[in-house]
């Protein structure tokens, strides 16, 4: 058994860290304050290859492997959770299902552009009446000759404001039991009948664009069907399994960034004539935060490693997310506590980390859904 990262994984960490420090960190506070997506950084992210890590080399990506990918998400989140979720939604939720379930024509049509960053992807599952209970979605796709006619309303779509390609889930068989009648489609933004609504004003990850997306008699060619008819729900669930590792990595990175700020501050801040790092109250918080991070990292990398080796990883991914998401909120909260009053202000990035961390307990499966998945596997 080895817990060592490979050379490539170590170098990936250094490379993404260099990028995050030099290019992401300087605008992180500003995009948060202005609720603005960091579109100016997308070309540089594409050039670095951050948008093609889940796509094989022969289709224009880097095929870096899941561990390198989660390390990249973690390193982005260490500086800015919004950058991390843009990459995560694009890579895990749009590129990945097209790689896994697309046919060769769909691979050629979409993956080189997505992997190279010429196009950005999004994932449309959630509806106003179908959040955690995704199988109850009501968007519909009706056959009309060799076309599909799509109608429905999606909400909370990450990257919605600027995505070019949407993987959309809709009911193709109203007669079938709820999960069975759902199919997946690849939809281009330009298609007539697609409307993107105003972005949400959010507690955190304010640099990620979260919008409603609606379809009104949107006509798709038959070739837009991703996978088989009726396979949609399975595709969504498999996609979210992988996404959970990515969100765990995002949570981990947010916590790591907050932790580092707290440690640096504790060493410098003088109270009672010496650095507060000399106080046991602070030392204990640092110890707990470091242990939390170590545990989260092991769970997250283990899930990624299983996925990379094509082994069953879904339960480990749920566990990684169930541990890392609350851990991230906890560590960010402790970081604020270490900084005290200034930690509660925008002078330091820990208040942003705290707000950003909260979403990781909710999206791509709430803590409660993860517990459901895990307990089912244990009580079988």
């Amino acid at each position: 058994m080895s817990f060592e990262l490979t050379d490539e994984q170590l170098i990936t960490r250094d490379a993404v860290r260099q990028f995050a420090d030099s290019t992401v960190a300087p605008i992180a506070a500003e995009i948060d304050r202005d609720h603005r997506a960091p579109l100016e950084n997308l070309p540089a992210m594409a050039e670095l290859g951050l948008l093609g890590m889940t796509v094989p080399e022969e289709l224009g990506g880097s095929g870096s492997g899941t561990v390198s990918y989660v390390i990249a998400v973690e390193e982005l989140a260490r500086r800015c959770a919004s950058h991390a979720v843009i990459v995560e939604a694009h890579s895990s939720l749009c590129c990945w299902p097209i790689v896994a379930f697309g046919n060769p024509e769909q691979h050629q049509a979409y993956l080189p552009d997505l992997a190279g960053g010429a196009k950005i992807g999004a994932f449309c599952l959630t509806e106003p009446g179908a959040g955690t209970d995704a199988a109850s979605l009501t968007s519909s796709a009706r056959r009309d000759g060799d076309q599909w006619v799509l109608n429905g309303q999606k909400v909370f779509i990450t990257n919605g404001g600027f995505a070019d390609v949407f993987v959309v889930f809709a009911r193709t068989d109203p007669e079938a039991p709820s999960a069975k009648g759902i199919s997946a489609f690849i939809v281009d933004r330009q298609t007539a009948g697609l409307t993107v609504g105003d972005p949400e004003r959010k507690l955190g990850i304010r640099g990620s664009s979260t919008t409603p997306v609606s379809f009104s008699d949107l006509r798709l060619p038959a070739t837009s069907l991703l996978g088989r008819e009726g396979q949609g729900f399975a595709i969504a669930m498999r996609t979210l399994d992988g996404g959970r590792t990515g969100i765990a990595a995002q949570a981990l990175g947010i916590a790591q960034g907050a932790y580092e700020t707290a440690v640096a501050y504790a060493k410098e801040r003088i109270q009672f004539g010496r650095p507060i790092a000399n106080l046991q109250a602070i030392q204990w918080m640092i110890a707990d935060m470091a242990t939390d991070l170590e545990a989260g990292r092991l769970l997250c990398y283990q899930a990624a490693d299983l996925e990379e080796r094509h082994l069953d990883f879904a339960i480990q991914a749920s566990m990684a997310k169930l541990f890392c998401a609350p851990m991230s909120v906890r560590v960010a909260s402790s970081a604020i506590q270490v900084l005290g009053g200034v930690g509660y202000t925008e002078s330091y990035p820990v208040e942003r980390a705290y707000r950003d961390a909260k979403i990781t307990e909710i999206y791509e499966g709430t803590n409660e859904v993860q517990r459901l998945v895990i307990s089912k596997s244990q009580l079988r």
Binding site: D7, E8, L10, I11, T12, D14, A15, V16, Q18, F19, S22, E47, L48, G49, L50, G52, M53, E57, S62, G63, S64, S68, A72
Partner: protein
């Protein structure tokens, strides 16, 4: 034709500490390709592509520089291959020794048109390695190079000195030390990182080069570097204007405020 880049896998001096006896402790400093060398590699890649040459890294250090993670980190930044002299006792050798061994490595390469180097190295900071290497090779040398291009018949080199901006041309083989401003260093891309593992690494031993371990003298003592002893006069600042008056009077009395233009 080949462009060689001298690089170093060395600890980041910003993370070093010094103990009471003056021993520099790099144990908490992580080894990396220094920012200076990253500039040289990036400029080298651009020139190699523009002139159809191979870009080969040369490095001299302890065994850690020969580990795959070190050579891959260098290759991921754009080198086509690396020639590595990594032996026990060769880490943290001084610029004189480094330059003589780098010259041995450059001589192993055929048809070298340029050797590029960073302006400084991360753990030593003497800014002399490139000039000593040029001396060993007997080649032309310029430092502080900010712009470097192939005109079709010669290398066009621009640098800024205090007296102005100089442009030179060099035809023959040369050693050029690049200013940190010569390129905005980019992180290695994801594809480059994976490609690095497939590029050739040629380990070389001192004996292959027919070179001896360079004589660096015998270290007799180390000490903390403290500079001149300081007076340590603490000025009460409860009234800032009074404190300022006290300081200005003291500086004036020491002759430190003599009027005169800057040199």
């Amino acid at each position: 034709m080949t462009i060689a880049v001298a690089y170093k896998w060395a600890p980041e001096a910003q993370e070093a500490s010094v103990d009471a006896a003056g021993r520099v402790d790099f144990s908490r400093a992580k080894d990396k390709i220094s920012d200076y060398d990253a500039v040289a590699i990036q400029v080298g890649r651009r020139l190699a592509d523009a002139t159809g040459q191979a870009l080969v890294g040369v490095t001299v250090s302890g065994p850690q520089a020969g580990q795959p993670v070190a050579t891959k980190a260098a290759l991921a930044r754009g080198l086509d291959s690396v020639l590595v002299l990594a032996e026990e006792g060769l880490d943290r050798i001084g610029p004189s020794a480094t330059a003589s061994l780098l010259a041995g490595l450059v001589r192993q390469l055929d048809d070298v048109s340029l050797v590029l180097a960073g302006d400084s190295s991360t753990d030593v900071g003497a800014r002399m390695t490139a000039t000593l290497l040029a001396g060993r090779l007997g080649w032309a040398c310029l430092t502080d190079v900010e712009q470097l291009d192939w005109s079709g018949s010669d290398w066009s080199i621009t640098r800024t000195q205090t007296w102005g901006v100089e442009t030179f041309k060099v035809t023959g083989p040369a050693v050029l030390a690049l200013s940190p401003t010569a390129a905005a260093v980019k992180a290695p891309g994801m594809k480059d990182i994976l490609a690095a593992g497939k590029k050739p690494v040629r380990p070389v031993a001192l004996t292959d080069l027919g070179l001896e371990r360079p004589d660096q003298g015998e270290t007799r003592a180390t000490a903390r570097l403290t500079g001149p002893s300081r007076q340590g006069v603490v000025i009460d600042v409860s009234d800032p204007d009074a404190a300022a008056a006290v300081l200005v009077a003291a500086l004036r009395q020491s002759g430190l405020l003599v009027e005169g233009s800057q040199e």
